[in-house]
């Protein structure tokens, strides 16, 4: 029985190495400047793999080696203070060390302002779509108020028709277009319940909370279409609340802006 347990634990370790090799599902390729994420993940994975494998194999080894063989005696060991101090300190240093190392990328994301030339996109989440807004040529977002919301007229965010600043605002449904290599500042709102803006390829996620205005930023490094799943349970349509982040060349972006402006 001890041997059986040991073999199963060995199998667990082998299976985990296979599974975590990346060949059976992994992060989608990174397409933003947020390279620290993958580095920190890999570092943590290596540390965890060592700890995990050593612990499972030790467990397997001990239950096999120290099985009741009829003629053996258990040793009355009550503990070992040296071991306790050593493994406690080591664990503390490793865990806290990982935590501190990882704070740099958190700081980059949340404690540093996006550059002043960042392009601003406003995101208003609702059950069950993503509304995006660009400020248009005047660089100003028009005033909004819930009383102006009229979904049949496609005014999802309640743009105030009397505010001149809003006349050139560009609004899209479920499609966010940004130029590559350009810092983008995202201002998150929600109209009804809590949603969460998640772009796996950019390694970013931020809840969009009703009553709050939350800002994040990113810079795309590769053109392409990237899906935006909602990552906070928001009701029955949560599973199909799908946006697309379309990263295009600067020229394509200008063309798109012009088309949106004339299309209005």
């Amino acid at each position: 029985m001890g041997l059986a347990i040991a073999l199963v634990l060995l199998l667990l370790c082998v299976a985990s190495v296979f599974l975590f090799s990346g060949h059976y599902g992994w992060f989608p390729p990174l397409v933003s400047t947020f390279t620290d994420y993958d580095k920190q993940f890999t570092l943590t994975l290596i540390v965890v793999a060592v700890v995990f494998i050593l612990a499972q194999l030790a467990l397997g080894l001990f239950v096999w080696r120290y099985r009741d063989r009829g003629n053996n005696q258990a040793k009355h060991i009550e503990g070992n203070n040296t071991f306790e101090w050593v493994w406690t300190s080591l664990t503390f240093v490793i865990f806290i060390g990982l935590g501190i190392l990882g704070q740099r990328m958190w700081a980059d994301l949340h404690f540093t302002e996006p550059p002043a030339d960042a392009m601003v996109v406003e995101v208003t989440a609702q059950q069950f779509q993503w509304n995006f807004r660009y400020s248009g040529p005047d660089g100003q977002f028009g005033h909004t108020d819930p009383k102006y919301v009229d979904e049949s007229a496609l005014n999802f965010i309640g743009l105030d028709p009397h505010d001149p600043a809003g006349k050139d605002d560009i609004m899209t449904m479920n499609r966010m277009v940004v130029p590559v290599n350009q810092p983008v500042k995202v201002i998150l709102h929600s109209k009804d319940v809590t949603h969460s803006f998640f772009v796996p390829w950019f390694r970013i996620k931020q809840d969009a909370v009703p009553g709050m205005t939350i800002t994040i930023h990113f810079t795309a490094t590769k053109t392409g279409e990237y899906e935006i799943p909602c990552a906070e349970l928001c009701g029955l349509g949560h599973y199909k609340m799908r946006g697309v982040l379309d990263v295009v060349t600067p020229q394509e972006f200008q063309d798109w802006l012009k088309k949106q402006a004339t299309g209005q």
Binding site: F20, T44, T88, F95, D207
Partner: protein
């Protein structure tokens, strides 16, 4: 001191069926009542999981017979997304509250703790009885929520407002179903708080002569610490629940800000914060998960020592670790909220504290391994589950090292990676604690042995099964699969996930079927199991000094005196390889 209390608590065995088995004041009967409440809840919870796992594996399939059973939720046999979400919500709720917060503490803690400290009953037997029946009423209300008109709630076991606060305009099930759910939880909180008071007082005041704190078995330390957590955490959930109920039916806006437009309707609430609920909920919610696991940790220590015939390695360190986990557990709730919009500065503090909690957990793991080192291991069924606990605790625990880091949680939050983490720790390790405790204390509680052979079969199928179910979820989370999606096929990037879903669903069905082996073993053994002796495992703690099953007052009028610690196994020079706690033997 304890003599005076002993005098005040002399109560004679009850007469009559109602007094003996229904409204009993006997902690042993109450413990069994909690256990069967948990058993009922886990069967419902597993059934729900089978239902939603079927949908995840084959989202477009329709099953006629299901359509007949659930005409609203599965019209034509095809599951609606709201039905899926309400299954997920009720699954989580039943499992976390009515299984993991009842059986380990209210079940085994109630039954065993007084005996292990040499007491005749809990300090407050009437309060004990009340705590069970209040919990029972909470379950009845929760079952009403499951079958409520309009559907069961779909906001998850975490019930974040505004989704859970706005009523039916935010979704099906958000009307009566959600209201009943909140009421049930509030009642549950009261039941838990009553229980917690009892455990704390009993442990501090009713220990027999010689049972110093440092001679208490680790199970007692675990139940004691768990009850402190319960006493401090449940009031916060109760408060949050009352505020949520008021927002729903009382016109208040604790959690609802101004300016919402839901389903094209302007919502006339104003001034509230959705984050406030998250803080209140998780201030409770994080200690709650330690409430779920600490008893299992205590049981594991007990089982490893008994069946390796060795003391628990590092008893003092283990006590410190239990207390440390309990204490630190109150300071980490923000790790559920790293991307919630909470201050990123708080996030850093919560992250470092969260990673620190890994330290006492690691100490416990090292000490369990140390308990096995140079042991003489007997592979009885309870031991198999204890060994399984260690393995599962390591697996579930190490994924916490990823999630506790703010930067990494950015991606992994609300993905299947989190599902893997908490299921392995709670939905398996804690359950293994319950299984181990069942096989171990069944002889004491019912005077009969469970089948060893079928216990082993149950262990193997379950151990391999749960790894098959939950281990692949790590990869699904890394691939970016969000939680609570009734159907991932709307997203191209998730196309590769359907094979995983099918594999997991098949593993779930097999593992669930294996639990019938346990059920049959349990019920069959109640009547037909081999008669058990007083101490079939040759263990050292006080419950093994009394008959199986115990008399009404536990010690037959003879209050025990304790001479030694709880783990005197294989003491050199002793007559046998174990010395019981009440033995005055000189070695």
């Amino acid at each position: 001191m304890s003599e005076a209390i002993h005098e005040a608590h002399v109560h004679h065995p009850p007469k009559g069926f109602i007094r003996k088995y229904i409204f009993s004041l006997d902690h042993k009967v109450i413990g069994i009542q909690y256990y069967f409440l948990a058993l009922f809840s886990v069967l419902v919870g597993i059934t729900l999981s089978l239902l939603f796992r079927m949908h995840l594996a084959w989202p477009n399939a329709s099953w006629d017979f299901m359509g007949k059973l659930f005409p609203t939720g599965m019209p034509g046999g095809l599951m609606t997304p709201e039905f899926y979400l309400s299954m997920v919500t009720m699954h989580g709720t039943l499992m976390v509250f009515f299984v993991l917060t009842t059986a380990p503490q209210g079940g085994f803690g109630n039954y065993i703790l007084p005996i292990q400290i040499g007491a005749e009953d809990m300090a407050f037997p009437v309060l004990n009885m009340l705590s069970f029946w209040v919990t029972f009423v909470a379950l009845v209300v929760m079952m009403m929520s499951l079958f409520a008109v309009g559907g069961a709630p779909l906001s998850g076991w975490t019930a974040y407002p505004p989704l859970s606060a706005l009523g039916s305009i935010s979704g099906p099930g958000e009307g009566l179903g959600q209201t009943l759910w909140v009421i049930s939880l509030a009642i549950f909180c009261v039941g838990s708080m009553l229980g917690a008071l009892n455990f704390i007082t009993t442990t501090l005041n009713l220990r027999a002569k010689g049972m110093t704190l440092m001679r208490m078995p680790l199970t007692v330390w675990a139940w004691f610490t768990t009850s402190i957590l319960g006493l401090l955490a449940f009031p916060v959930l109760l408060a949050g629940g009352i505020l949520l109920l008021l927002d729903r039916v009382g016109g208040t806006s604790f959690f609802i800000p101004a300016g919402l437009v839901v389903n094209e309707q302007l919502v006339h609430h104003n001034g509230g914060s959705p984050l406030l609920w998250q803080h209140l909920f998780w201030f409770f919610g994080h200690p709650e998960v330690y409430i779920a696991i600490l008893p299992g940790m205590g049981v594991t220590s007990q089982l490893l020592a008994t069946f390796a015939r060795k003391p628990v390695f590092g008893y003092k360190a283990m006590v410190s670790a239990i207390l440390g986990i309990g204490f630190l557990g109150f300071f980490v709730w923000g790790h559920h909220m790293f991307v919630s919009g909470m201050s990123p500065f708080s996030a850093v503090a919560f992250s470092l504290l969260t990673l620190s909690i890994g330290v006492p957990s690691a100490i416990k793991t090292f000490n369990w391994l140390g308990t096995l080192w140079k042991g003489k291991i007997q592979f009885k069924t309870p031991m198999l589950f204890a060994i399984g606990f260690v393995s599962l605790f390591v697996t579930g625990g190490v994924s916490g090292i990823f999630l506790g880091q703010t930067g990494l949680d950015l991606y992994l939050h609300d993905t299947y990676f989190v599902l893997a983490h908490f299921h392995l720790i709670m939905g398996v390790a804690a359950i293994f604690g319950i299984f181990g405790a069942t096989y171990y204390w069944f002889p004491k509680m019912f005077g009969r042995m469970m089948s060893e052979t079928w216990g082993k079969v149950h262990f193997w199928l379950t151990f391999v099964g749960v790894y098959c179910i939950f281990f692949p979820m790590h990869i699904m989370g890394i691939a970016g699969h969000p939680r609570r999606y009734s159907d991932p096929s709307n997203f191209k990037y998730l196309a590769g996930m359907s094979t995983y879903h099918q594999f997991i669903t098949i593993a779930t069905f097999i593992t669930a079927a294996a639990q019938f082996i346990f059920l049959i073993n349990l019920f069959w053994s109640l009547w037909k199991g081999k008669k058990a002796e007083d101490n079939p495992w040759h263990a050292t703690t006080l419950e093994w000094t009394i008959p199986s099953p115990p008399p009404h007052d536990n010690f037959g009028g003879k209050v025990p005196v304790v001479y030694r610690g709880a783990y005197e196994y294989s003491v050199p020079g002793a007559k046998q390889d174990f010395i019981m706690q009440n033995s005055p033997e000189e070695v």
